[in-house]
Subunit: 389 residues, 2 copies
Amino acid sequence: MERTPRIARRMAEIAPFHVMDLLARAQALEAAGRDIVHMEVGEPDFPTPEPVVRAGQQALAAGHTHYTPAAGLPQLREAISGYYADRHGVNVPPERIILTPGASGALQLIMGVVVDPGNRVLLPDPGYPCNPNFVRLVEGEGIPVPVDATSDYQLTPQHLASHWDERTVAAMVGSPSNPTGTLATGEDLRALAGATAQRGGRLIVDEIYQGLVYEGEAPTALGETDEAFVVNSFSKFFGMTGWRLGWVVAPEAYVRELDKLAGNIFLAPPTPAQHAALAAFGDDTRAILEQRRQAFQQRRDFLLPALRELGFRIPGTPRGAFYLYADAGAFSDDSFAFAERVLEGAGVALTPGIDFGRHRAGAHVRFAYTTNLDRLEEGVARLARYLRP
Amino acid sequence: MERTPRIARRMAEIAPFHVMDLLARAQALEAAGRDIVHMEVGEPDFPTPEPVVRAGQQALAAGHTHYTPAAGLPQLREAISGYYADRHGVNVPPERIILTPGASGALQLIMGVVVDPGNRVLLPDPGYPCNPNFVRLVEGEGIPVPVDATSDYQLTPQHLASHWDERTVAAMVGSPSNPTGTLATGEDLRALAGATAQRGGRLIVDEIYQGLVYEGEAPTALGETDEAFVVNSFSKFFGMTGWRLGWVVAPEAYVRELDKLAGNIFLAPPTPAQHAALAAFGDDTRAILEQRRQAFQQRRDFLLPALRELGFRIPGTPRGAFYLYADAGAFSDDSFAFAERVLEGAGVALTPGIDFGRHRAGAHVRFAYTTNLDRLEEGVARLARYLRP
């Protein structure tokens, strides 16, 4: 006989992703023969670049299947350090770079070493849905701070001034941002680092979409301060989502603690992924990534005006990631119901705003341009027929 | 200017592994030209079996580099279910099997859904050093329960009776055990499941060394109860340490919560590892694993009497894993100092008992037979010269 489960209280506050219900429905429709245009998927449609795949295969052939050090292969930490120097002109010593099982692992480590029970971390709303849950897991509290187009959906020192209290220990930003695709400037990041330091707290910067930018560069916070935690990943720009490999660049004084926690809760990041990633910075891979970046830009340049034409409101020009965060208030103020209707009626899958927070979430949906231009055109045509019959 | 780090209180209670200091010293000695026999390493010396490596390479060639569902590939969950039926004659529905980033990921998920702040989890001392830290990460408390040879170093219902209090929510056992190599019988596991259930708690069983047994089988707790959490892994028996892939079999009522937490904190387990692991249950892989099992048995059969002959006391015959937990009280009651001396003086690396708990830890060291027979013989010869000059 099954017993009643006793479930930790935190789990009641960790919401499932609403988009998973839509995805399940989309798959059911597809199983029944319906064609669905997927504009809800948060990962590149491109497979891992061939030189990276080949490096992974060769590492396996060479028997590189054992544990690495908890902080990752020394030569990969060196390579990432070299990449920061090369691409961003920033000096980041390899000792401050800790490889992790995805950026998710990096966020777990940071919250584990920074957040005591009852501590608060300020987070932009809308923002990446898992962020408050990393804080909650270790008995802290993610505090959503409403942001909008007036600050490019980024936190500002003014937000910190009005939301920071004695329980707050950190503020977190993402640039380029999921779900909005907007960027923080170097000046913004420097100001945020100053504003957190002034309050005795830490800035955490999620840079996992770095490289996926369509006008200029996304500056790294590492060019502005050595005292922030900066999270990055091989998933999005480098096309290695399934390999689960990310990293954190930590202030020097935290490195030992992060390393200790990593050794305990992960043992080490995946070895095949680390060997494969050594090929991620080569010229041949870079050329492939540049082609893909251009493809994403082309998609954005098509999708942004097309959605506006349909009646979605998207302020400014989102300059990075592969998302457009659209005000669908002209159609609905219930983003989940709207996404359901659009899926059933138009055969287009979107992510409802309620997955990214509470602030005007019912009036927003996220479009991902992680499918090719033909499919995006088909999706827009279907939306046009459905929304303006 | 670097600021003083504010570090979460839990980190002061999470100890680094003492063996890492010894390992660093061993590497320094090796870099200076000294030969070291490694008997401290907790992973098989064998690389991943060739059919598994090939499956991983082929999956990469086929472009399987994207995220899988959070709980893992459906076909791998099916395959594991089939393995339980086949090898253990136990029916485990695939829906109850959740793939994780190593057994480490499984332990994180379990503690996340079961442990509220201040809750206690009973753990055998000696035991796997990371276990209390998984509990501590989510603000619970691992309670070490001293065990010894009279119960094969396993927890018993009597231990539960004397250590369980109103804050206790779970008890955890490992079979085969790290560091002792001892096993719990099916009857033991059934009794422990009953004793935890009777107190409204849960039993967590670490079975990651299952398959590495040298007399009979290590029974799975899944044959005794559907209400325990059972952790397993492709790391040790299947030789896939670096791939980082494990699983948890959960009571049905916890599956949804575990899946939700996994989606949030991991996104998904590594994709190449999952495709590779599909080849872990094939006949060709099984034949290789059986050869390796026999090699481990041969090593144990050499090492156990040889160590006793030298003056180490090892009660009974440890029947599983690849460890011997030896009372070195004839030589020292400071296991770290002893391990240091043996490393410097004999060129043999061991793990000090203090890495596994507090109970008579100063008088114990762990020998791992994860190196070949020639090297083990060399290690024993060096110890003989050093300890009985």
